[in-house]
């Protein structure tokens, strides 16, 4: 498959996904959507790694994808825990309300 689709297509696709995710993190105000955008960025990386692993015929790239998935799951678990704690305190998950530290 990788022989028919040039590697540049994969690079551009994951770069576009990554940029959409990065813009989302900066522009969106809902904390859950920010988490989703970070996941999108990480999945862009996963796609790129899997494509390169096939290109080089080397399995270490695919193993790395597993590491990323495991770590991303841990990160989101911690993130959602912090988020539910914030919700308990201010009854909202809008990040604009989180500006008490900007004095």
């Amino acid at each position: 498959m990788i022989n028919t689709i040039p590697i540049h297509y994969y690079i551009f696709l994951s770069a576009i996904l990554f940029i959409i995710g990065a813009v989302g993190v900066m522009a969106r105000r809902n904390a859950i959507i920010i988490f989703m955008c970070i996941e999108l960025m990480l999945n862009a990386v996963n796609l790129l790694l899997a494509a390169f692993a096939t290109l080089h015929n080397d399995s270490s790239g695919q193993i790395f994808v597993f590491f990323i998935m495991a770590v991303a799951a841990a990160e989101v678990a911690v993130g959602l825990a912090i988020l539910s704690m914030i919700y308990r305190n201010i009854k909202s998950i809008d990040v604009d309300l989180l500006s008490r530290l900007k004095e």
Binding site: H56, F64, I68, I82
Partner: protein, 456 residues
Amino acid sequence: MKALFIISGLGILAMLAEIFKFKRALYPLVLIGILAALVANFTEFNNNESIQAFNNMIRFDNVALAFSSVILITAFLWFILANDYFTNETSLTDHFSLVLFALTGALMLTAFSNMTTLFLGIEILSIPLYVLAASKKNDVKSNEAGFKYLIMGSFASAFLLFGIALIYGATGTFDLLAIRAKISEGMPLFFYAGIIMMLIAMCFKVSAAPFHFWAPDVYHGSPTVIMALMSTVVKTAAFVAFMRLFLVGFGSATSVWAMAMAGIIALSLIISNMTAAAQSSVKRMLAYSSISHAAFMLMGILAVNPIYSMRAILYYALAYSVATIGGFTVLYRVEKQSGNTYDDFNGLAKRNPFAALGMLICMLSLAGIPVTAGFFAKYFIFTALIGSTYKWLLVLAVIMSCVGVYYYIKVIIAMYFKKPTHQEPLLIEKSHTLLLAIAVVLVLVLGLLPNFVLSV
């Protein structure tokens, strides 16, 4: 290598303490464990052979052992500082294991030789810290600090990973030495994009401008002892990672990243020192000053001098960590009594002469006044950089050091020359007095015998 096993084993043991009910014994156990890890480090030192593990993904050479010893010494001092952070019965074991796991990540970062261990080390270091930053559950400021740290941390990790993926695509390997060997063969354009993305991610992690905006907020909102941990142990670990990555991995592609790094250093120096001078809270001032110290350590990396860079950064990290821990000891007690603004330090010399003297020496060291360790730290960084093409940075760094002297001296003036706003004396418990004494002695000994560390 043994240190890594001891610290991670201690972390697991700390979690078991909840089940097997030996919570009381945990604190001395952790202190003994860290000392044991330090001893293990010294026995492995200078064996002429680096210790490799996990299919050559971790390599404990002398550089790694020296830096992990600095991290362990700082962690030991930090545990003395943070003794009352570990008093809440319900969350005691969690806090211990989180800090110990963060330390495990820090030790991994000193010795990685593969992109996989770099990524895992950074995440093992960061994820416990997100929790620790938010560990004051009912304080919205602490929640906000943890949340911001998490978002910014994972954002930076995504950049790091994209950089790793691009570099893997160009070279077909994750191994640092193999990447270094391949650079000379000529690389596609996206390889250089990968280096720049990793540079951005690492600057996020060490909080260098213009990627520093999260740091003051996170530092300010976190509990003070956790801020002390973040600005010493975590910063040192992130710098070793930065140094290994760019000197070992990308050392032969300096033309790509050196210019960008020089710009980042110049920006960090100007922004951090100017903003630090305008702060009214000592805690926030220390947060900005830690960005300025990050810029100084980056200058060591920019020198790309295999011997001097490493030694200069090692000495700087040790001098900075010890003086910061000393400063935080006093700040922590003052904050507990009244608050963390400059006014709360007024007349400290009368309220507690010893604490004021300790703070004086730590501040002088951070400002880089001669005889203290901070002066030689800056001196070694400057000598490492003087041979390179970036001499204009030295001029800027010296000017900004003068601005730095202003805001450190402001603390000293408040302590010695202002009338106390609070009359009651500042009480410091015995362990903290001892810690402050150790920090002051270390700062002076390092300043008087700078070659002691450099001979390593």
